[in-house]
Subunit: 330 residues, 2 copies
């Protein structure tokens, strides 16, 4: 592939010195339109004073080139023949887009989850272009996370409509995608939250599981619903592409060791861990912070106390945004 | 169903007073032959002095009536038309088998996971027949556990060979079963253990994930292997039956409240929690112990410190067996 389209959104205007631009990086299922999925952050960043840029990442399905795009060589969608992309590729595409927009340097690069991986990759790959980096619930994925992503990909490929990834646009493998998403939702939340919200209660509608064979617990109804609303808005090959990128993120491997990777960073870095996050455990993020510090990075670690699990980066704006705005001096 | 076969194994002999009989209850994938899956416990129970009984539970696929059994009304296997069974049904079938063997009362009833649920159900449903009850890593399942069991059943039903549960014995839905098992294996282990064993290492055989599209991380190879060895030895409808029974276990619901359920118990009870168990969190087991104590049960709580997660009941004999043998006075 020699060409890629990048869909982006800009909120507010760059000033003459172009030193008020903040880049927001989206996570697995996000898009360029920050106001749709992280309105609290957008307000905090204040488009009347700052210019906020967000691009849809390469491999996704919201306007930037990805598996649903037409392969000019065949006239058909790439589908599963789309090249495997990494977080580095996403960031490189974003950097090229920023070049075309005339943005050389960011006052801040901020993201949660895969978005946080991008923020870190920006700081490592383009040290001169990032003044401050905020990565929330993000670090190289541990074995449990990789394993559960692997199973999600296998679930999608089990769908009778999968067809080796070359499914028809009219009949995508939606059942597999829905189950994979429901499994991902489990990794984004916490046991504590599920127990508080759903516990062993019967589903809100329909029979209880102890009343009839078709009965469900509330958590079953919730997960089914989460799967169902997702399959209407996401593409299975993009989902697979994004999880592979997530698994592969590992600056230490890119640069032959932690120290050589992190010592490239010139940005001030804020790492945010989440107490109940079991996909990106707070302890792993703290450890990454220690390694960055050892490599001379100006790094701050902050922890959100929450039952919301990995999703806290979106679910706990009252905890996250004050820390972030103070750090970014916004 | 008016008739059920129960496959059982007996180790050692009952004495004249028949007061040396211990019942071992197996978990999801176990069988009557304790020496195959819990040899350390069997040694500890000492068949030269005690009589150890284990039955394969109803709904399983190791000899006791279950989905693979022939429905006399049709001459075909029940498959998914097999009646939904509960932990109570399993225990009732076991009690009828014990009656036929002339065993009235057990010196101990012991099990881990679904086996621990059976031990507890025995103490509640047949209080006169249980002297001591040992339940390891067992309590009513929380919302996360129910949700992940639900997804496992959905994965099996996604398999193109599923056929509404009426699959042919020659072509069972093995791919779905393998993925479901791999997901279950994640719930039986811990993040800490996976990180220590597998981390971000490439798979032992074949290319690394960053070398080629078919490459895998070590954890991916491990989970694939766990799925593969399981599909050769288990039936998908039995798997579904067992997980439904696991989800439904809830003595408080059976008897209209915790207090009325637990106050039935006359046995001394040992509950064992496991520090890294995220399927049956130690805190949930401790809380259940408090409710039992409040209902007047003679209950002891003990905790295994281990990285092995839920599987510690099998993986940590050096921690578990001394506590158990002291409690059972064996």
């Amino acid at each position: 592939m020699t060409h890629a389209d990048v869909r982006f959104a800009i909120y507010g205007e760059a000033n003459a010195a172009c030193d008020n631009v903040v880049l927001v990086c989206h996570a697995l299922s996000g898009s360029a339109t920050v106001h749709d999925w992280w309105p609290d952050l957008l307000n905090m960043l204040d488009p009347t004073r700052n210019c906020i840029l967000c691009t849809n990442v390469i491999g996704s399905c919201y306007g930037t080139t990805g598996p649903l795009s037409i392969n000019p060589a065949t006239g058909e969608p790439y589908n599963s023949t789309f090249p495997r992309v990494s977080i580095r590729d996403m960031v490189r595409a974003e950097a090229l887009a920023a070049d075309q927009l005339g943005i050389r340097r960011f006052k801040g690069v901020i993201g949660g989850s895969i978005g946080g991986m991008q923020a870190l990759q920006w700081a490592v790959d383009f040290p001169e272009r990032v003044e401050a980096c905020v990565a929330i619930g993000a670090c190289p994925l541990g074995a449990m996370g990789i394993g559960l992503n692997h199973l999600q990909r296998q679930i999608i490929a089990l769908d009778p409509l999968w067809n080796g990834g070359q499914y028809s646009p009219e009949a995508p493998p939606i059942d597999g995608l829905a189950i994979a998403r429901a499994l991902a939702v489990c990794t984004y939340k916490s046991s504590e939250l599920f127990d508080e919200r759903h516990g062993r209660k019967p589903n809100r509608t329909g029979p209880a599981p102890w009343e009839s064979r078709g009965g469900r617990f509330d958590i079953e109804g919730y997960l089914d619903h989460q799967g169902e609303i997702f399959l209407r808005r996401f593409d299975a090959n993009s989902y697979i592409a994004m999880t592979y990128a997530m698994d592969a993120f590992d600056p230490a491997r890119d640069f032959g060791g932690k120290h050589s990777a992190w010592s490239r960073v010139k940005a001030r870095v804020l790492l945010v861990g989440i107490s109940s996050d079991w996909l990106f455990p707070a302890a792993d993020i703290r450890r990454m912070g220690d390694a960055m510090k050892a490599a001379g990075v100006n790094v701050t670690y902050s922890e959100i106390e929450s039952q919301h699990g990995h999703d806290s980066f979106l679910a706990e704006p009252h905890q996250l945004l004050p820390v972030t705005s103070a750090f970014l001096k916004i």
